[in-house]
Symmetry: C2
Subunit: 700 residues, 2 copies
């Protein structure tokens, strides 16, 4: 029986969680270092806790309200009765992933700095281990949530359909498809809120501290320094949690029309499980010598990912061969090509992100040169660099979709081709455990550098933390590329699953998703506009919150006597509080945009309009997110390139111009860009949940 193999999924999820737990214990076993390091670290942790507490309290209210709304709708027969509960579990697990990630990241900062004083490899291991905690918590909780609902639906709620596997898997997948909205909403709050928090603190700290008061970055006299060092990994975790779960559910849903039934549903879940085990194996290969050269370090970090990918490539073949019954249907082995194309696409997008944002390559080096003619030219240069960098990711995703569709037999059977597109997203995300570990490593290394600076560690230690920090910048950039690429593929799979779902729900519905059908076309225009609106809202939010921080820091410099002389202490917690409140208040408008757009567009333009909107938002959102992330990353590294002694070095006019570029890039790469990932998935998720409502009540 195919179904019994599903048990491997919860087993895998438990393994992942246990692994995360042991890694966490390992990290916590390291020393936090000197008294001053302990103290700074405690302040950061306190700030993070204050943020998390207030943030989660607000989100709890939202989830309670949504639970009631969804409950009423379910009661009225507009939704399946599981939706309100699934909404809660999705949100809970996604939120928990972020929470654990934040906890471990704030615990690992000082430990990484301290470990670096004992050796580069030791520092790398601590930071990377803290990343694996996050990575495997996300993966483990994601698969756990999926397993729980899968078994509940199959063995408790839909036992009446047990005689007819096709009908049962259809009912299960239709129900599960609505589950992503909880995770999506949580991810939105985490990404947007976190993005506003950290960038408001960063911009605010820089504007008053560096520019007005002339004190260096990460100076303990700056009241916003702690808020700046809280960092944000919760958003990243919640974002990728959602892509991970979303791509698997969408593929399960698509397996029904493809005619694969339980075998087809098993494949994404088992590929994910295989990927998880491969990722664990990969982590053991991440180690380095004492050479601080970036290329050597990057190679060390990448080795783990490549080994994991290789294992997935090996093991996914038998999974597909067996579960898609390729002995009987040899054509189906083409689905294997879909997995490969997804995995390779993820690696390639990461490479091109690195090419455009790392100062070891020409684009960023040239960008730093454009600082010689002032801030205006570096801004123009950075924006055109970001725009140019969208070409390859679009072609890579396009090629990956094409290969997946045709290799999976899309010509003979359209639905099987679409299943292949879903599987390629699962393939890309299969090694998420280790990819996310590499990604989450970045902020930890960054803040370790901050702590080393604040606690005046010796020069050789700073050299090591700087090397780790630089490496973190690169992995953060490639991680963003991966997050955007996987979000786009996931969103595509969700759009397709949505249309499939409508066909099952309302077989009589006249679908006309042709691009020249006016509702589709208008939906497309609106969809293309939404990422711009969303970015505008999030950037303005950062601006306003940063403005409040500027006022507060100025006030403290003015009112706290002895602060500048180092005899009195800054009031860090007020800054943290302002950032938190700002983040919470400013989250509302973007969240409403994401949740209400599909409903309003749907009620006016109908299902066809929604499909147009989703496609437009995904295509434009993908391009805009890549552009914003890469412009921001390139500005950041162009500044670092100058600080390394090029074009006049620190304090020169070109450096000042580069700082302007970096400041513009901050909300680009850390708030608006990554938030768009969530937007495009959330729009699909909301559309799926409210499909029944739209079918019944739309005007067109």
């Amino acid at each position: 029986m195919v179904e019994s193999y599903f048990l491997l999924v919860p087993i895998g999820s438990i393994i992942a969680l246990v692994f995360a737990f042991t890694q966490a214990r390992k990290v916590l076993g390291y020393s936090e270092g000197s008294d001053i390091m302990v103290k700074i670290s405690a302040s950061i942790r306190q700030g993070a806790n204050a943020y998390l507490k207030r943030q989660y309290r607000g989100i709890l209210l939202f989830f309670a309200a949504m639970f009631v709304v969804l409950g009423i709708m379910a009661f009225a027969g507009l939704l399946t009765p599981f939706v309100p509960f699934a909404f809660i579990t999705g949100g809970f697990f996604s939120g928990l992933s972020g929470f654990v990630g934040m906890k471990i990241a704030t615990a690992a900062n000082a430990r990484t700095a301290q470990a670096s004083s004992e050796g580069l490899n030791r520092g790398l291991r601590v930071a990377f281990s803290s990343g694996t905690v996050m990575g495997f918590t996300v993966v483990g909780l994601g698969l756990l949530d999926l397993s729980i609902w899968f078994f509940l639906l199959k063995y408790v709620f839909y036992t009446n359909l047990a005689q007819d596997p096709a009908a049962q898997i259809s009912a299960i997948s239709a129900a599960m498809l609505t589950f992503g909205m909880g995770a999506s909403s949580m991810a939105l709050f985490a990404r947007v809120g976190g993005g506003i928090f950290t960038k408001a603190a960063d911009v605010g700290a820089d504007l008053v501290g560096k520019v007005e008061a002339g004190i260096p970055e990460d100076d303990p006299r700056n009241p916003a320094v702690i808020a700046d060092n809280v960092g944000d990994v919760a958003g990243m975790g919640a974002d990728l949690y959602e892509s991970y779960v979303g791509s698997i559910i969408a593929t399960i849903a698509l397996s029904v029309s493809a005619g694969y039934n339980f075998g087809g549903a098993a494949v994404p879940m088992l590929i994910a499980t295989v990927g998880l085990l491969a990722s664990i194996a990969g982590t053991f290969f991440v180690r380095c010598g004492e050479n601080t050269d970036q290329k050597v370090l990057l190679k060390a970090l990448r080795k783990g990912t490549y080994i994991s990918s290789a294992i997935v490539i090996l093991l996914s073949f038998p999974v597909i061969y067996f579960f898609l019954d390729c002995a009987r249907y040899p054509d189906r082995i083409g689905v294997y090509a879909a997995i490969l194309s997804g995995l390779i696409a993820g690696v390639l997008i990461g490479f091109f992100t690195e090419y455009f944002t790392s100062d070891t390559y020409k684009p960023t080096q040239e960008l730093s040169g454009s600082s010689l003619t002032g801030p205006a030219t570096i801004i123009i240069g950075g924006i055109s660099l970001g725009m140019l960098s969208t070409v390859m990711p679009v072609l890579i995703v396009g090629l990956s979709v094409l290969v997946s569709f045709f290799a999976s037999g899309g010509v003979a059977n359209f639905s099987q081709g679409l299943y292949g597109v879903g599987i390629s997203a699962v393939g890309m995300l299969s090694t998420l455990g280790i990819t996310l570990a590499t990604d989450a490593y970045g902020p930890v290394a960054d803040n370790a550098g901050g702590i080393a600076q604040m606690s005046h560690l010796p020069a050789e230690v700073r050299e090591r933390t700087d090397a780790l920090d630089s490496l973190g910048n690169t992995t953060a950039a490639t991680g963003k590329g991966f997050a955007i690429g996987s979000a786009a593929l996931t969103a595509l799979a969700l759009i397709v699953a949505y249309m499939d779902d409508i066909r099952i729900k309302a077989p009589d519905f006249q679908f006309d998703a042709s691009i020249v059908n006016p509702p589709v076309l208008i939906g497309l225009f609106i969809g293309s506009m939404l990422p711009f609106l969303f970015s505008a809202l999030t950037m303005k939010a950062v601006g306003r919150a940063a403005q409040s921080i500027v006022m507060e820091v100025r006030r403290q410099f003015r009112e706290i006597t002895g602060l500048m002389e180092g005899t009195a202490e800054a009031d860090y917690s007020t800054c943290v509080d302002i950032c938190t409140r700002g983040a919470q208040k400013e989250m509302i408008a973007p969240a409403l945009t994401g949740i209400l757009s599909p409903i309003v567009v749907g009620l006016i333009l109908g299902v066809n309009g929604v499909v147009g909107m989703l496609a437009g938002a995904t295509a434009t959102g993908f391009v805009l997110a890549v552009m914003m992330a890469n412009s921001g990353g390139a500005w950041d590294n162009a500044k670092k390139y100058i600080e390394a002694g090029n074009h006049g070095g620190k304090g020169s006019e070109p450096h000042k111009a580069a700082v302007v570029g970096d400041t513009v890039g901050d909300p680009f790469k850390d708030t608006s860009g990554p938030s768009i990932n969530i937007l495009i998935k959330l729009l699909s998720m909301v559309s799926i949940v409210f499909a029944g409502l739209i079918l019944n009540f739309s005007i067109l």
Copy 2:
């Protein structure tokens, strides 16, 4: 016979051309002012001529090469034999429009400055009259080109089909549909080349003159000042020529499937003719008193447009009633609503552009306030302002499409609905004569201000030219909004006409333009990326060309002794030459992107992929173009708002920050943004011309 009424179209076009001619004579009858003004004006004219000469020579080469390529393809049976000739005429008339516009604009600069010394109304009349020359040349030549081909095809080439009106109009419209590519290519060169020329000069002049040497704007000692004042109206004229002709041809083509035949083909041509006459009437109402208040002046200029629109609203009703035979088919009168919706959409987009870019409204005032915290915050503020400003234009265009489609009976007959969408574009562009006059007025007033500055006219004259210049900024911004809005509607009409054309060409072709069909989806992604790529190329081009100007200006300051003291003269023509060569060299990559993309995408992804690409490029291009134009406009006016004495005024730190914003905005609003208009139309045009090739040779 309906056909005899077509004669009204060439008659109207002759009236427009005669009117343009009398207006030109009127402008040339004014005095150019003092000796120094004559001299400056002559230098500018000389620069413009040098630019035009070299530019047109290069373009001639391109057209000759394309003529050969298209000729070979026509010979091989891949194109109708008219295409190569139509390509040439379209390019010729479009180029002629731009040429006349440039000639009159450079002749009117000094005359406007001189007339302003005799009174504000006199200055306004001269500048506006020069704008009408451009406006009515575009409209007149456009309708002339259409008429010539229409009559040639009907009474010379397709007389064999005279017995079957449906077959005849179908053959005529299919042939005419391929004609836009010549105008499109010409427009591309004009917009992109012109945009690079003026902005390279502008940025180069500012960077060395204002920033390094500390001399004021428009100072005759600056060697780039003449190139900076050449301005660019050729691009604007060619752009709108193409929208005008494109929307009419697309609607004619759509009249076949809609079942309207010659009546349906007559409507767009006659509405355009009515609009032309209405526009001439409107021009007589443009006059002002001696009050320099912007709102009063704007009202004076708008009065003409509103009166023209009112006349079109009145007269288009009988046109539709009679030619669509509404006595027999009363439902068809709904097409009238499509015209109204197009006209109103044009006015509304103009209003919202003004709202977001004029410093009499809150958004730009707030933006100028964000200069208080430095260049980074004004850049972030301007980008988010531009992004936010995309919401209303998208909703307006969407609503206009919706109203047009449904009012024209799209539910009962899909093709009739699409005909309505085409007609709404024609409606929006019907008053182009006067709208373009208002738009082309801007650069003339701007350069009149420059001449007044350079020739040290008395304060009261400067006050008047400043008022006219400010007004010109507003009309330039709203003109850009109108150009983008009409380009989007025209592109939509062209996409629809393209699909219609394919259906006629290859009735067996299996169309699947559904958004989830992978080739469509991938096409959509590529289409969404193209405007970003195109903007990156054009911005980088400006950057490189500006860099050469910087070098040259520095060289002249260094090597020409006595230049700074005013005893020696700058070598203006070298700067003009560098700009021209830069523009020409840098035009190639964007042009190839526009021309090759549909062919490459088509050959790989097939017709469905092309449709996806066109839709993606139109939707994303529209949004991106609005954003770039409005960000740029707002930065420009935020700087002006500070210069008017707010936030510390000229020379203050906020002013310096605002200058950075303005410099970033220059290529946004004057190069990349407007070039996207052309891109989205050119992509459709190329797709239409190469439809046969793609149908026969595509892989998918």
